[in-house]
């Protein structure tokens, strides 16, 4: 179904009632607002995250991909102190990854444990190709690149994971640890400290303080 823009916006002189307006809105959403994604829409640590955000492009088969899309317009509300709700972000890859990706991540874990870093990164890169936006995969890649002493790449990959994680503190925590270690190893003490501050902040948040 393709909705033409002009057809969707009636003459401005009309005075629609609230109900009609909202009905009209739901039928005339802009194409970009037609989200079919399972990604969280509201990002931010104080806003409770949706129940099952997926990796966007490869939701776990059978897992719930339903979420309530953000209404196009939400009336302004008085800003209350942020609720201290522990974010409901996925804590592990199991919640958002397909079986194939989980299997490759498992292979990578055993290879890494055996010190076979090439095998580990190879398995994770295969996983990345299957689910290019799976931030757990990117995060694990960052750790392996750190093991391989590819510090610059480890930091960048962890940043990439942060970017895709859209506020998932559990993943961000791991990523900032990798970033801190990578910066430290490259002699960037200040950068490492800044990353460590992030680690501490998130840990504090998670501890409920």
């Amino acid at each position: 179904m393709r909705i033409g823009y002009k057809a969707c916006f009636p003459a401005r002189s009309a005075l629609p009632v609230v109900l009609a307006a909202s009905l009209g809105l739901s039928a005339c959403v802009t194409p970009t607002a037609q989200r079919t994604s399972s990604w969280p829409d509201n990002i931010g640590r104080t806003i409770p995250a949706p129940t099952a955000p997926g990796p966007g492009q490869n939701p776990t088969p059978g897992a719930s991909t339903a979420h309530t899309p953000t209404p196009l317009y939400s009336p302004p509300v008085a800003v209350a102190p942020p609720p201290k709700v522990l974010p409901a972000y996925p804590k592990s890859a199991d919640e958002i990854s397909s079986q194939a990706v989980l299997s490759l991540m498992k292979q990578a874990r055993s290879a890494r444990a055996a010190g076979q870093y090439d095998q580990a990164s190879g398995a994770l890169e295969r996983a990345q190709r299957i689910e290019p936006r799976n931030y757990f995969v990117w995060s694990a890649l960052g750790r392996v690149y750190l093991d391989k002493k590819l510090y610059d790449n480890a930091e960048s990959v962890a940043m990439k994971s942060n970017s895709l994680a859209r506020g998932n503190v559990y993943v961000e925590l791991e990523n900032w640890k990798v970033i801190a270690a990578a910066r430290q190893a490259q002699g960037d003490a200040i950068g490492a400290l800044q990353a460590q501050v992030k680690v501490d902040e998130i840990q504090r948040d998670l501890a409920g303080g």
């Binding site: 393709r2 823009y5 916006f9 009636p10 003459a11 401005r12 009309a14 629609p16 307006a21 909202s22 809105l25 959403v29 802009t30 194409p31 970009t32 607002a33 989200r35 079919t36 994604s37 990604w39 969280p40 829409d41 990002i43 931010g44 966007g56 492009q57 490869n58 088969p61 953000t70 196009l72 317009y73 009336p75 397909s98 079986q99 194939a100 299997s103 490759l104 090439d118 095998q119 990164s121 190879g122 890169e125 295969r126 990345q128 190709r129 299957i130 290019p132 936006r133 890649l141 690149y145 391989k148 610059d152 790449n153 960048s156 990959v157 940043m159 990439k160 970017s163 895709l164 859209r166």
Partner: protein, 779 residues
């Protein structure tokens, strides 16, 4: 006898020779004989040394083998029964109704059984195994072990061999096989036809010569050759093909020497790998291992009787019996060989009849071998250059595992070939005048998935995808807008920009007065709309406000490697870029500002499978995420309501796309570049002679691009704002904050903190604000 009777009586007329002379002559003869013997010994010793050096050392220069990325099979993969069949056949798998051995499969709409070949991947060997797949409406529903029924999470198919890197001049290519890998029928059948006494003779066979003469006389034409396999090997290995006595002499002695030093099996194995079996352009096909791929697109072990017979038949004359060019002649030869097989008891009567009934079943086209991707292999070579010596690549048998995705490559090739023909027809252009190039890459990992360097996709000459640097026209515009959007305090997606005439005095004193493509003025435009409609005047205005230097910097951060002249025409794409570099630049936007240097290679191993080099995914954030998100959003508007909107006549409406068209002066270049959630694709259409061809980006390249995207089965773009972006409803008239009171409103992303705070006049909240204020006074 006659001579003796005819000879005159000699005794009477004989001269008396002094005894001393006789002794002297005998001494001379003895000395000369000894010298001759010494020379001959030296000759033999030198031949012997030659032979041993060649045999003991590296016997063949082994061109590097280039493999495509393997197909991964797993539950959830978007691949139906038809697609899978196509994939398997491309890999040379045979639909045999039941699993007969590696390289066979059986398939119906509900599921498939595959006998997966053994393969030595870069990370280790994988044994042959049998798997079962089930399909559902969405693709592969499950993968399991065909024997135990146990579920398999992921199965890697053996990758396709897509080419090899051989020297330009004398391009010998081969795939080495060990004697124990050679099917019995090939080994015995080859000896039955070429050298029946192989295991009995000492290098040359008198019996063989006599038999060949007899057989050939009886048949009325040459059926058997007189040379032994050893002689043929020596000839192929050490000697030229000129028919001189010296060569014959050398051949004979070398054959005998070879037999002295090496076992029969060693010699036969060398023969099987050395013999010349075909020509593919300037690449010479040597050995049965490669010939099996070259003619049948599968490994030697999977050949059937009639295929073995054809290869054995071709030994006699690869050009004369070329099954692609001379199929009738080749079939006659094959059938003759099959009769020899039967006569020697290698196959029975029924098998012979069945084999003779079969067509040649040669894979690939008339000219060449199985599918090859010259433009891609060219990119692989360039990437390897500098890291490996040329001789490493042409001689050491390296195994190169690449990123090529045969599905993407095929979609790109097909759409370029068909698209150009259709465009020429509909535009009434002379057929064959348009040229094209295209690149498909992954989003995020920097993998080059497919590349086409010209209209004739099998031609390995000028690679336009890599080498044709042409003006990119409006493909440069997203980088101008991105540069502006980085300044959140000055610009947002709804900032109004004038669409008014501009006249600029250039340093050359010339006046530059750009115009819109339609030569009209459209009044002030919201920033995103100016991009969507590809208006030139607002773009130049915006570019001048942010500055050439800043825009050039954005281009470079995206991956442009040139040094653009800092002139205003840069904003309209007066920069020359090759398609592959455009893919790099758009890829950086597609990946949220993270640049991954494009790579065509994943791993390189030795011929034994020892890993030499890995190319890990590399990323670096080079552009800020928030502004990149905003420009991506604007590029989705290009597709929804701007110059890219015709794509939605081809791809489904649910497929969110971002892209941009590009057209250069006088319609010399037609570009389209854009991306989905997981694929970046760039298409260029133009003429090699730079003449105008009358196509815009939207009427030329987009035609091919949108069909390509449809066929790639790409994942839609997922627009999820990063943390530093917030979305807000905007009144499309004023660009101010809107609510349900406004009839024309749009949800627009802004850099966090920079969304307009004032309500638009139409907003209900705007009306209620003064009321609230009044109420507060009265209360």
């Amino acid at each position: 006898m006659m001579a003796r009777h005819m000879a005159p009586p000699a005794r009477k007329s004989r001269l008396v020779i002094p005894r001393s002379f006789v002794y002297g002559a005998a001494a001379v003869v003895l000395v000369l004989g000894s010298i001759g013997l010494i020379v001959f010994s030296f000759y033999l010793v030198s031949l012997d040394k030659d032979i041993r050096t060649r045999f003991a050392g590296v016997r063949w220069a082994l061109p590097a083998q280039v493999f495509a990325a393997p197909l991964e099979l797993y539950a959830g993969l978007n691949l139906d029964a038809g697609d899978l069949k196509h994939e398997l056949e491309r890999l040379g798998y045979r639909d045999s109704g039941s699993l007969e051995g590696p390289g066979t499969f059986s398939l119906n709409r509900q599921g498939a059984d595959i006998y997966v070949r053994a393969f030595h991947f870069w990370d280790g060997p994988r044994a042959e195994n049998r798997i079962s797949l089930k399909f559902d409406g969405a693709g592969v529903a499950s993968v399991s072990d065909a024997d135990s029924g146990e579920s398999r999470d992921i199965v890697r198919m053996d990758p396709m061999l897509i080419g090899s890197i051989y020297p330009q001049q004398q391009g010998e290519d081969r795939v080495l096989v060990k004697l124990e890998e050679v099917p019995e029928l090939l080994r015995d059948g080859l000896l039955a036809v070429e050298d029946r006494d192989f295991y009995d003779h000492f290098g040359i066979s008198i019996r063989g010569v006599l038999r060949a003469m007899f057989v050939n006389l009886r048949a009325g034409h040459a059926v058997q050759g007189a040379s032994t396999v050893t002689q043929q090997l020596v000839r192929n290995f050490f000697l030229t093909l000129d028919r001189t006595w010296t060569r014959k002499f050398n051949e004979m002695f070398m054959s005998i020497l070879l037999e002295r030093h090496y076992s029969k099996d060693d010699i036969l194995e060398a023969y099987i790998n050395e013999i010349y079996l075909g020509q593919d352009g300037n690449r010479a096909i040597h050995g049965f291992g490669l010939a099996s791929w070259f003619y049948f697109n599968k490994p030697l072990g999977e050949l059937r009787d009639h295929e073995v017979a054809l290869l054995v038949g071709v030994v006699k004359g690869a050009s004369y019996y070329n099954p692609r060019r001379n199929p009738v002649r080749a079939k006659d030869r094959r059938d003759l060989v099959l009769r020899v097989f039967k006569e020697r008891g290698l196959i029975d009567e029924a098998e012979m009849r069945a084999a003779i009934e079969r067509p040649l079943s040669v894979a690939g086209t008339k000219q060449g071998g199985v599918e090859r991707y010259p433009a891609f292999v060219d990119l692989v070579k360039r990437q390897l250059r500098g890291q490996y010596k040329d001789s490493d690549l042409t001689d050491e048998g390296l195994r190169i595992f690449t990123t090529l995705d045969p599905r993407s490559q095929e979609a790109l090739e097909r759409n370029i070939a068909q698209g150009l023909a259709e465009i020429e027809k509909s535009r009434k252009l002379p057929a064959g005048t348009l040229e094209s190039a295209g690149v498909v890459t992954s989003v995020g990992g920097g993998d080059v998935l497919g590349i086409v360097g010209g209209r004739d996709v099998r031609y390995s000459g000028f690679n336009r995808a890599l080498d044709s640097r042409r003006s990119i026209g409006s493909l440069a515009k997203p980088f101008v807008y991105l540069t502006a959007l980085e300044q959140g305090d000055r610009y947002n997606l709804h900032s109004m920009i004038d669409d008014e005439p501009i006249e600029l005095r250039l340093p050359t004193k010339q006046i530059w007065s750009p115009m819109n493509y339609d030569r009209k003025l459209h009044g002030p435009q919201p920033l995103y709309m100016a991009l969507a409609q590809s208006y030139n005047l607002p773009t130049v205005r915006l570019g001048l406000e942010v500055g050439e230097k800043a825009v050039a910097n954005t281009l470079k951060q995206a991956g442009y490697t040139g040094n653009p002249a800092l002139v205003p025409s840069m904003f309209l794409g007066a920069v020359d870029v090759a398609p592959v570099e455009v893919a790099q630049m758009y890829g950086t936007i597609a990946a949220g500002g993270f640049q991954s240097p494009l790579s065509a290679i994943r791993e390189v191993t030795t011929k034994e499978g020892e890993p030499l080099n890995r190319y890990p995914i590399r990323v670096k954030q080079t552009l800020p995420e928030g502004p990149v998100y905003l420009v991506t959003w604007a590029m989705t508007q290009v597709m929804r309501l701007g110059t890219g909107r015709s794509a939605y006549g081809i791809v489904p409406d649910t497929m969110t796309l971002a892209g941009k068209s590009g057209t250069t002066d006088d319609l010399r270049d037609s570009w389209f570049s854009g991306f989905t959630g997981d694929r970046v694709a760039v298409v260029w259409v133009g003429r090699d002679d730079y003449k105008p061809m009358g196509l815009t980006g939207s009427s030329g390249a987009l035609y091919i691009w949108s069909r390509l995207i449809r066929d790639l089965k790409a994942k839609p773009l997922d627009l999820i704002p990063p943390p530093d972006v917030e979305e807000q409803l905007a009144d499309t008239v004023t660009g101010l904050k809107a609510d349900e009171g406004c009839d024309s409103r749009l949800l627009i992303p802004y850099l966090r903190g920079y969304a307009p705070q004032s309500w638009a006049p139409c907003a209900r909240a705007a009306e209620s604000q003064p009321m609230q204020w009044l109420r507060e006074i009265f209360e």
